[in-house]
Symmetry: C2
DNA sequence: TCTCGGTCGAGAACACTGTTCTTGACAGTG
DNA sequence: CACTGTCAAGAACAGTGTTCTCGACCGAGA
């Protein structure tokens, strides 16, 4: 059983969280390059930056904590969008998740860049087993699985997964329930890939002036992706 | 008419290029954070870094030059893959372009991150009109257009572009030839988006241990994307 | 040929950065 | 009350990008 936290531990934990929150604000405002230990120290009421190192081993550790938080925030947004579900419109559910993820990404572009942009130089991947970084692909997989169970998964074209691709995904596919066909998992992975591709292009500015209404363009792109990959609005 | 370059101008231009090449090597090896003006100066035989500023206004300008070069290298790789074409297998042509782009991306991950990862803090987008950054989407658009002209473009599902998405892409779609249907352009954009999404996930390490053979997984993903978006191996 | 103007590299300097170490003060505990 | 461990502060080190000034040199015009 966990010991009762002493007052010292309590105030320490709270201050640790306060530092992280200030860091996140500084990241959101000035970008990762503007996250300076000295200005962050002043932000939380410290005169010198050295005291900061009693709470985080270094700047990279702080960034790693922000990465984990960003993954969780993104996962929360996606989960919340998938939650209110009428049980029939699986295509609409997919689109709702896409919109929620996009909403979070455009509202927090720097945090999105932290998790899905160029990897941070000194980043230490803490995803030993099932980190928060897998929440989104797992959710999308669940979406497809529930759609299939409801008869609302009808992939277009020939969904067969060739042997080479099957072997490349063996460690993942072998862990799936036997009633889940391979192409279902591949479709979910493709959906995940397509979603993040569309978001990266928009958030990182690569889309440029191709569209005047990124939200509407994104909506259509994800709707088309969902139907092409087999999600339908009404079960058969 | 351009003046004949004086010897001074010649050696200056060559040294400017030499600096950029050394910077690219340093970027490829140590990442963008390891690109230091002082070590770069020593790399090209300069004792002090200050002389570097006679050739580039600053580090950001140097990075911008590297970005333009990376876009061009990526465009060259894609063009070279699309060039030898038998005129029938448009799906195979698309896959060849995908493989070439992936080959370049995994061989130059830091340069790929420079163009399709988190935007550099002080990078000034030089895409006034048609920068090298649009070479890849334009090439993919040409692929789809030529496939359609050859009767090898048969999109699956309902390819109709709803009014909202049509409006969002109006400045792009209005500039297209009248025989190119809207959904053809949207399919090309989707293909571009899907391709870069798959690459970002792999190159940036987000894909993690989902697959043991990224190339085979990528192949299948892009093959499926191509066929779903309408590219066929044999014209009707 | 000599001299001048312009270009070049070197070096110091400034304002930063992350990080480490030492010092002194404070709070909670025995 | 005294002690012990935790804390913030400050100096210091090794870096960073950038600017400025200073000689030196090279090439072209008189």
């Amino acid at each position: 059983m966990p010991k009762a936290p002493t007052p010292r531990e309590r105030v320490r934990a709270e201050f640790t969280r306060e530092i992280k929150d200030a860091a996140r604000r500084q990241l959101a405002e000035h970008g990762p390059a503007g996250l300076s230990m000295r200005t962050l120290a002043k932000e939380v009421g410290l005169v010198s930056a050295s005291a900061l190192y009693r709470y985080y081993p270094g700047r990279d550790a702080l960034l790693t904590a922000l990465i984990a938080d960003a993954y969780d925030a993104l996962g929360d947004a996606a989960d919340a969008a998938a939650d209110p579900f009428d049980g029939t419109d699986h295509a609409g559910r997919w689109l709702a998740v896409c919109r929620a993820v996009r909403g979070w990404a455009v509202a927090h572009p720097h945090e999105f860049a932290l998790v899905h942009g160029s990897p941070v130089p000194g980043y230490t991947a803490p995803e030993d087993t099932t980190g928060p970084g897998r929440r989104l692909p797992l959710l999308i997989g669940r979406l497809f699985q529930e759609a299939a169970a409801a008869g609302a998964y009808r992939p277009l074209g020939d969904p067969a997964v060739p042997a080479a691709a099957r072997a490349a995904l063996a460690p993942l596919l072998d862990r799936m329930p036997p009633d889940a066909p391979d192409h279902l998992v591949v479709s979910a992975l493709a959906a995940w890939s397509d979603l993040l591709g569309a978001l990266a292009l928009e958030v990182f500015g690569t889309l440029g002036r191709f569209t005047t209404d990124p939200a509407a363009y994104f909506d259509h792109l994800m709707h088309r992706t969902g139907t092409l990959l087999g999600l339908t609005a009404r079960p058969a």
